[in-house]
Every structure is written in structure tokens, then in C-alpha cells.
């Protein structure tokens, strides 16, 4: 049985350009290694997940979730890619190749990957400045993200945006002003309702932003007009250096929407995030109006690269979260213990991810900076070319949209 399989695989892999493909042999052997174990893996498993705290809801998301092998491998790869990408960014920042603000997402991977798993590419998402993970899950390549961080022309915003201003199809950034993205998200949801295409908008903010007045103005209008908006508070316990207890009279962020139903979710468990988001998305799509989700999560890095992150929390706390609640480890253990994958298979994914990140970093450090001419562009859309003033009246740049 295995010999036939091997032979068939060899034929398929060799294909028309076999001679020119140096990797073909090792590919075959890799597939063979996998296929040797393939028969040992199960195709799916069911897991118990934490029950969500509910606000103004009779029922919540299910307390079990089914994970297929395919899904698990995909989630693992995606989370690991984000993890390694963020760690690479840390490295590049310390080498001063990345400048300015850099807010890293490692520790919170289950949130962005879990959310994406529950929605469609045609749905919309907007978040604040801790956005690299979302830029990736919404379709931007690691290459383009890193090159944007290093300010090169191959960056997803041609080097003109930087860490906090990355955009993609149906992904509206990347926003620097704390809380400002929340009304924007409700506006996107208004457009979803207006166009009538059954799309929703996920509008994210942090525990720090949760105390912004404009968020409460937005809750009011979203509820009044039944906008298909899921408000999502990524509660990582600290708004910069201020713990939630020191910032909020009520730290039950899932209740802060008052008349808006809310759920509190274990943001370190990707299945919990996924099931909760599916539940909330269904609520919004059915025209019932907005919902609020609080994802309890944690960031390993400080607020940004300028913050060591240990003056307001202990190393012990960080270590405890890493050892007990790391989202990638949680998924890995589930998969390995339930025969959805093996340690070896996941290690192979790690190797591939590492390689991808290295190549992307290589690109991001060698790609040239944008040409000076780019300085004046993108002031106006669909405008005949005009002149933009530089630092003096004699320095002019041409501007095209």
C-alpha cells in the first residue's frame, strides 16, 4: 500500500519539469514522512471550551468546538507566522532598522486568527495600532508587512504609513489615535447595512481605549440604528503602563456597552475566540444590531518597543502566562494529544515559517526606500497632477493620486 502511494506521489511530484526541480526529491521524502503518519492522524476532534460570561443574553456560544486537522494546521501555521514575524520585528527594531512606534502582538495571536476563522474575507475589520497580526490575517504578506516597518518601497503602504498604518482589502488599518477607529468601524457597518450585502464589521479596541467617550457615542448610534457591528475589546490587562484596575471603574468590559449584549471570551484559546465570533457574527447578520465581545488576552512585549514592560508588571506574571496560557502551545498540545498532528509535523511547520520570515526580513532590509518623488503623492484621489510645496518655496514635488 505504501509503496504504491510512494510511486504515485513520485510521479505526480516529478511532473513535466522534474529535472529542473532540485527540491522534488526532498519534497517526495517529506510527503512520504507525512504520509507515513497520515494514516495515524484523525481528521477532527471535539474540544470542551470555556463558557463565556454573558451580558443581556440568555444563551451564549457553544461550550464545545470541533477542530479539523486541516483547520488546526492552518491556525497553527498562521499563529506561528505572526509570532515569529513579531519577534523578527523586535530584532529589527533593536537594530534600529525599524523606527518610531512598534507595538507588537505576540501573545495575542489567538485573537486575530480566531476572529478571522469565524468571518468571511468579504466582512470588514478595523483595529488600532497593534495591528501587524491583523494586517497578516486580512491578507497582507509578511514581506510587505516587514518592508512597511522598515520603510521601504515594497511595503504594503509603500513605506509611507509605517507600523500603525497598514491597510488591505476590507481591512481599514492600523489607526494611531486611540479610540478613533471605533466610530470608523460603526461607519463601515453602516455601509454594510446600507449596501445590504449581509456583511459585518469587526471593530476592535483595547482596554485602554475602552474609556474613550467616542466609543460610548458609537455604542449609542450602533444600537439605535442596529448596525451590523461587533465591538471587540482586546483586554490585555494594561493600557500602556496602566493596569485595568487603575484605569476603569468597571473592568467588565463586555458589560460596558450597557444596552448592547456582550460576552467575555478566553482570548488565549483560539477555539473559544472562533466560536464566540461565529455566535456574534450570526447575531449581527440577522439584523439584531451590534454585539460586544471582550477577549481576555495578554501581550508578552511591553506596550511598544520603547516600553520594557516590566515596570508595571512582574516577570513572573509574564512567565506564568507563557507557560500556562500561550495560545500556540495550547493549540499544539490539543492537536498532538488528540492525534490531529504530531510534534514532528508541527516542527516542520516551524521550520518553514522561520524560513519564510527570514526571506521576508531579507527583502525588508534590502529593498530600497521609496524614491523622493513619492513624497508628494497620494494627497488627493483622482486629481490631475499638481504641485506640492516642500520645505521652501523653491522645492516642489509633483503630486499624483
Amino acid at each position: 500500500m505504501r509503496k504504491m502511494l510512494l510511486a504515485a506521489l513520485s510521479r505526480v511530484l516529478q511532473g513535466p519539469a522534474a529535472a529542473a526541480r532540485p527540491g522534488a526529491v526532498s519534497e517526495v521524502s517529506r510527503v512520504v514522512v507525512a504520509s507515513r503518519n497520515y494514516a495515524d492522524f484523525t481528521s477532527e476532534a471535539t474540544f470542551d471550551i470555556k463558557k463565556c460570561d454573558l451580558h443581556r443574553l440568555e444563551e451564549g456560544p457553544p461550550v464545545t468546538a470541533v477542530l479539523t486537522r486541516e483547520e488546526g494546521l492552518h491556525y497553527y501555521r498562521t499563529m506561528q507566522t505572526i509570532r515569529r514575524m513579531e519577534l523578527k520585528s523586535d530584532q529589527l527594531y533593536k537594530q534600529k532598522i525599524i523606527r518610531g512606534f512598534c507595538h507588537l502582538y505576540d501573545g495575542q495571536e489567538a485573537c486575530c486568527v480566531g476572529l478571522e476563522a469565524a468571518i468571511k474575507p468579504t466582512d470588514h475589520l478595523i483595529t488600532a495600532y497593534r495591528a501587524h497580526g491583523y494586517a497578516y490575517t486580512r491578507g497582507t504578506s509578511v514581506r510587505e508587512i516587514l518592508a512597511e516597518l522598515t520603510g521601504r518601497k515594497g511595503g504594503c503602504a509603500k513605506g509611507k504609513g509605517g507600523s500603525m498604518h497598514m491597510y488591505a482589502q476590507n481591512f481599514y488599518g492600523g489607526n494611531g489615535i486611540v479610540g478613533a477607529q471605533v466610530p470608523l468601524g460603526a461607519g463601515i457597518a453602516l455601509a454594510c447595512k446600507y449596501f445590504g450585502k449581509d456583511e459585518i464589521c469587526l471593530t476592535l479596541y483595547g482596554d485602554g481605549a475602552a474609556n474613550q467617550g467616542q466609543i460610548f457615542e458609537t455604542y449609542n448610534m450602533a444600537a439605535l440604528w442596529k448596525l451590523p457591528c461587533i465591538f471587540i475589546c482586546e483586554n490585555n490587562r494594561y493600557g500602556m503602563g496602566t493596569s485595568v484596575e487603575r484605569a476603569a471603574a468597571s473592568t467588565d468590559y463586555y458589560k460596558r456597552g450597557d444596552y448592547i449584549p456582550g460576552i467575555r471570551v478566553d482570548g488565549m484559546d483560539i477555539l473559544c475566540v472562533r466560536e464566540a465570533t461565529k455566535f456574534a457574527a450570526e447575531h449581527c447578520r440577522s439584523g439584531k444590531g451590534p454585539m460586544l465581545m471582550e477577549l481576555q488576552t495578554y501581550r508578552y512585549h511591553g506596550h511598544s518597543m520603547s516600553d520594557p514592560g516590566i515596570s508595571y508588571r512582574t516577570r513572573e506574571e509574564i512567565q506564568e502566562v507563557r507557560s500556562k496560557s500561550d495560545p500556540i502551545t495550547l493549540l499544539k498540545d490539543r492537536m498532538v494529544n488528540n492525534s490531529l498532528s504530531s510534534v514532528e509535523e508541527l516542527k516542520e511547520i516551524d521550520v518553514e515559517v522561520r524560513k519564510e520570515i527570514e526571506e521576508a526580513a531579507q527583502f525588508a532590509t534590502t529593498d530600497p526606500e521609496p524614491p523622493l518623488e513619492e513624497l508628494g503623492n497620494h494627497i488627493y484621489k483622482n486629481e490631475p497632477p499638481f504641485e506640492v510645496r516642500g520645505p521652501s518655496q523653491w522645492i516642489k514635488y509633483k503630486s499624483v493620486g
Binding site: 460603526a186 463601515i188 467616542q214 484621489k381
Partner: protein, 327 residues
């Protein structure tokens, strides 16, 4: 046709023309508009297209900007631009800068409109002119109509523009009637953004103005013509991008420049015009330093005599012309 009716007609025509256009703001729907600019529109277009908002400027302005990012073409009304200060972050940081930060990926086709500047006896917090504030920011377009034609054509052009446009109207102009040319009565009548209009040809002095002050300049010109002084009156129509070329061409002809505006003097529209004239070819044609007439450098008082003297009046323009021409 009054400025109010011209704006109403423009809104109606643009709502009819493009499904994606909608209006939101306080009292715009069932109240027919705080200043009746949107009269009859809610009745005609309904809740989906004409939306009454709660008193939440920062919130609903952000909602308007987000809707624009997602493909709609919102018109966001501020009851007055004084209230836009609460939402100014959304106008500048979210609307104005996003196209640039996204390297062209995310356009923001939104119009912010409402009355700007002084009214009559509304006091300091309700009388500020924001032309300089918004005119300062790259990424925004800022227009300031004077006549009914300006109002109609600029509003239509603003709605059709794919960029964030701030349209600074004037409450005292809403009730003023103007002749509308044949052309201006068409459903596709547009006034180009970024182009000034010569309201009156002249040879002795250039008067540059925007919004209500344009009328005062024309009144001053009518008085001065009796003394043999021909004023050229330039109606800026657009604050940003400013049509400096038209001003320069006029100054080259007249050799004298006076700017007139309602806003405060420091860092204002007139200050910008003077600086730009210094940098360009027209400087060498000036026979006297350029002069600015502006609002007085104080918060707007309430008492009538005080308020009147806080804005450039016709007599102030006449005085300035004579001083500049040394007559």
C-alpha cells in the same frame, strides 16, 4: 434664488443622481435642518438617506468617515463648524490623512458642511471661523461659497469629489437671494474646486475675499467707483487648494493687494495670501505692502455695537483702499 434654496437644490440633485450619497447630522431629517437647508429631503428620500443623529459629533463624524472608507459618499452636517472642534480629529486624522498613509489604497469621499464664522449675536463660542484651521491641512479640500451659484456648484462638486471636502457656509448668507444664470440652473452645474472667480474687473486695487466678505468688497467697490477707483474683486471660492495664480495675475495688473476675511488675523487666510504673494512674481509689481482686513483679534462679543466692530465693514475696506492707494 437664495443660498439656502441653492444648497437644498444641490443636495436634492446629488441624492437623486447617486444612490451612495446620503446626509447625516443633527436635525437634518425630521426637523428639515436646523437652518432648513435640508428642507423636504427626508420626506422625499426617507430614513436610509437622511439620518438624524444624536448630539455626538465625534461619534457621527467618525461614522461618516468610516462609511466613506467603505464606499459610500456621506455628507456630514455640522450644525455650526464650532461643533466640529469636538470631531476635528476625525476630520483631519481619519479623513484628511488616510489616503496618504495608505499610499492611495483608501480614499475618503466625504463632505463636511455647515455654517462657519460669525452670525448675529450668537456670542464667542458660536462665531469662530475655521477656514485657517482646516485650510492648514494637506489631504483636505476646503471651499467657501459666497453666492447661490457658488453654494450650488461647490456643493455639487464637493459631493462628486473623491476626497474629503470641508465646505464652510455662512448662516447670514443663507437668506440672501442671487440671480442664477441659465447654466447654474442645470442639474450638472459644477463650480470647479480650486479656482477663484473675478466678481468685478478693476485696475487700481485687488480685493481678495471669501464668503460673506465678498459682498462687502463689492459694496465698497460700488462706493469707490464714484471717486474714480476701480477695484478688482476676487472671490476665492476655494481656500485649499488656493488659486494663487488668479490673485497674482490680478496684482500684476493692479499693483495693490488687500485681503478681506472674517477670521482672526494671526495665521489666517490673509496671512497666507500675503506670504504667497511675496514668494511669487507678483511681489515685484506691488506698489505698496499688501494689507489684511480680518476679524478683530478677540473672542466675539455679544453686544451689537461691539460685534459689528469685530468684523471688517464696508467702511473699513474703503479706508484700507484709500490708505493703500495713498488717496
Amino acid at each position: 434664488m437664495t443660498v439656502r434654496d441653492a444648497l437644498n437644490q444641490a443636495l436634492d440633485e446629488e441624492l437623486e443622481r447617486d444612490e451612495k450619497v446620503f446626509l447625516l447630522g443633527e436635525e437634518v431629517a425630521q426637523y428639515d435642518g436646523a437652518y432648513k437647508i435640508s428642507r423636504g429631503l427626508w420626506k422625499k428620500y426617507g430614513d436610509k438617506r437622511i439620518i438624524d443623529t444624536p448630539i455626538s459629533e465625534m461619534g457621527f463624524t467618525g461614522i461618516a468617515v468610516g462609511a466613506a472608507m467603505a464606499g459610500l459618499r456621506p455628507i456630514c452636517e455640522f450644525m455650526t463648524f464650532n461643533f466640529s472642534m469636538q470631531a476635528i480629529d476625525q476630520v483631519i486624522n481619519s479623513a484628511g490623512k488616510t489616503l496618504y498613509m495608505s499610499a492611495g489604497m483608501v480614499p475618503v469621499p466625504v463632505v463636511f458642511r455647515g455654517p462657519n464664522g460669525a452670525s448675529a449675536g450668537v456670542g464667542a463660542q458660536h462665531s469662530q471661523c475655521f477656514a485657517a484651521w482646516y485650510g492648514h491641512c494637506p489631504g483636505l479640500k476646503v471651499v467657501s461659497p459666497w453666492s447661490s451659484e457658488d453654494a450650488k456648484g461647490l456643493l455639487k462638486a464637493s459631493v462628486r469629489d473623491d476626497n474629503p471636502v470641508v465646505m464652510l457656509e455662512n448662516e447670514l448668507m443663507y437668506g440672501v437671494p442671487f440671480e442664477m444664470s441659465e447654466e447654474a440652473q442645470s442639474k450638472d452645474f459644477l463650480v470647479p474646486i480650486g479656482k477663484a472667480k473675478i466678481e468685478r474687473q478693476g485696475t487700481h486695487v485687488t480685493l481678495v475675499s471669501h464668503s460673506r466678505s465678498v459682498g462687502h468688497c463689492l459694496e465698497a467697490a460700488a462706493v469707490l467707483v464714484k471717486e474714480g477707483v476701480e477695484c478688482e474683486v476676487v472671490n476665492l471660492r476655494t481656500i485649499r487648494p488656493m488659486d494663487v495664480e488668479s490673485i497674482e495675475a490680478s496684482v500684476v495688473k493692479t499693483n495693490h493687494l488687500i485681503t478681506v476675511e472674517g477670521g482672526w488675523p494671526q495665521f489666517g487666510v490673509g496671512a497666507e495670501i500675503c506670504a504667497r504673494i511675496m514668494e511669487g512674481p507678483a511681489f515685484n509689481y506691488l506698489d505698496a505692502p499688501a494689507v489684511r482686513l480680518t476679524g478683530a483679534d478677540v473672542p466675539m462679543p455679544y453686544a451689537k455695537v461691539l460685534e459689528e466692530n469685530c468684523l471688517p465693514q464696508v467702511k473699513d475696506i474703503i479706508f484700507a483702499v484709500k490708505k493703500t492707494l495713498n488717496i
